[in-house]
């Protein structure tokens, strides 16, 4: 029952990232910059940090396939990249003390891993011909900025909620 709420929240973010964001052309107003909203990834990272990693990975594969089917033309890339990014970030998170600043840093790491993976795979299968320098300068940095901003907005309420539902069954 509690997971359903998380699922609905994630699904809403999934819709926002593809349906609502393109309506606001602010992301294109800034020259060549390509700002990619990866809100699902940010929320999933928090699920993995403060909830449970197994649920995080399950959602990652599920929403990865949704992104693949709805928003892209090649299956499997996002499902794989999301799962790997979340797994890696979660492993790092076990070694550090999780506070707000650390979470933001790990969100940066997660978004980096995710974007690089998708970029490399797309480059290999010839779906894009973007140059690496262009990617790092115009795609990666603005994307990280937007997603860290989003992470800062949802950090406190979402963390509290996740800790409440993951503590719930133990008591």
């Amino acid at each position: 029952m509690k997971q359903i709420k998380v699922f609905i929240f994630l699904f809403l973010l999934f819709l926002i990232q593809g349906t609502v964001m393109p309506l606001f052309p602010f992301s294109y107003a800034w020259g060549k910059a390509q700002i990619v909203p990866e809100f699902v990834l940010v929320a999933l990272l928090m699920v993995a940090f403060f909830g449970s990693i197994s649920w995080g990975l399950k959602y990652a594969v599920l929403f990865g396939f949704l992104i693949d089917i709805i928003y892209s033309s090649v299956l499997g890339v996002y499902a794989f990249s999301l799962a790997v990014a979340i797994y890696c970030a979660q492993i790092i998170s076990r070694w550090v003390n999780m506070n707000a600043a650390m979470t933001m840093l790990l969100v940066v790491a997660g978004v980096c891993i995710m974007q690089c993976e998708v970029y490399v795979i797309y480059l290999m299968i010839g779906l894009t011909d973007q140059q690496p320098s262009f990617f790092f300068q115009w795609n990666l940095i603005p994307t990280i900025l937007l997603n860290v901003l989003f992470a800062a907005i949802i950090y406190y309420p979402f963390r509290r909620y996740l800790e409440r539902i993951s503590d719930g069954p133990e008591k």
Partner: protein, 292 residues
């Protein structure tokens, strides 16, 4: 301290890599056909997207209005200048179309649809891939509305933006002309007032520069910066006379046998909301030249 890779995890990773590669090669091979699972998911999510889209559009519309008010004065000035020519251009247009119809009637050509005739279906964008590598948008019309694969999609002013790449029952996906995967070669033409039309092919998109590659232009053709490129109506399902863009740069191709040009798309591909899907009336032979 947990170890980074245990044996079991390594096996899981390798298995998922294999699955990934299998899925990628499957979907690259499958091309434009979509399986029923994909269609089902696309339609179900499309319903939710439609619901979310309506309020979001209102909010976005508000910001758009504020922006419009800012520009209104400048735009008004420019439009007034154009308005002076309007009456004469309209009159000329009317004369020409009347003359055209009369001449066609004399030749008994009226019943055959011209290459430029088409039927319109209006549609709303309900989704767009958020990364910039996939240039796909989702529309709220599908098979039940008569949409088929390969139909060209335009925005206001007959500006070409792409073609339908996948259809579900109630939604369809458009692969924009800026999509690297869009392997559709579009036969294009530059129509000069005085000289012969110049034909060529649009073959791909340069994501770093944001321009379309217009190639296979005859070496002697008179191609200049600023000329307008339109579809020629000779390939696939594209009707004649859809505006593709303006030429920004002309070179010769790598072998020096033909000319190549860079074309800046006429439509603003980043700010789309209402589009039109068109079906041309002239019969096509895109099914491998078998028909007709």
């Amino acid at each position: 301290m947990p170890s980074f890779f245990s044996n079991k995890k390594l096996i899981v990773l390798l298995t998922s890599l294999i699955v990934l590669i299998a899925l990628i090669s499957y979907s690259l091979k499958e091309g434009t056909r979509s399986t029923w699972t994909e269609q089902f998911v696309q339609d179900v999510v499309g319903g939710f997207q439609y619901v979310v889209n309506v309020p979001a559009r209102y909010v976005a519309g508000f910001f758009q209005n504020v922006d419009d008010i800012n520009n209104a004065y400048k735009e008004n000035k420019r439009l007034k200048e154009n308005l002076a020519d309007y009456a004469s251009v309209e009159q000329e247009n009317r004369d020409l179309s009347m003359q055209n119809n009369e001449l066609k009637a004399q030749l008994n050509l009226l019943k055959d649809p011209a290459l430029s005739d088409f039927k319109k279906y209006s549609a709303t964008m309900i989704g767009r891939s958020s990364d910039q590598w996939n240039q796909l948008i989702t529309l709220d019309k599908g098979k039940v509305n008569g949409i088929k694969n390969g139909m060209p999609v335009i925005t206001s002013g007959r500006r070409l933006i792409g073609s339908i790449s996948k259809t579900g029952n109630f939604t369809s996906k458009v692969s924009l002309i800026s999509d690297q995967q869009n392997v559709n070669q579009i036969s294009a033409v530059i129509e000069n007032k005085n000289s012969q039309p110049v034909f060529g092919m649009i073959e791909g998109y340069d994501q770093n520069k944001g321009v379309l590659l217009f190639q296979k232009i005859p070496i002697k053709a008179n191609v200049k910066k600023g000329q307008i490129v339109t579809t020629s109506g000779l390939s696939g399902k594209y009707t004649k006379g859809l505006v593709i863009g303006t030429i920004t740069h002309v070179t010769t191709d790598q072998y020096g046998l033909t000319k190549a040009a860079e074309v800046k798309p006429a439509a603003n591909l980043n700010d789309l909301s209402y589009v039109m899907i068109i079906e041309r009336k002239a019969q096509t032979s895109s099914s491998g030249g078998k028909g007709n």
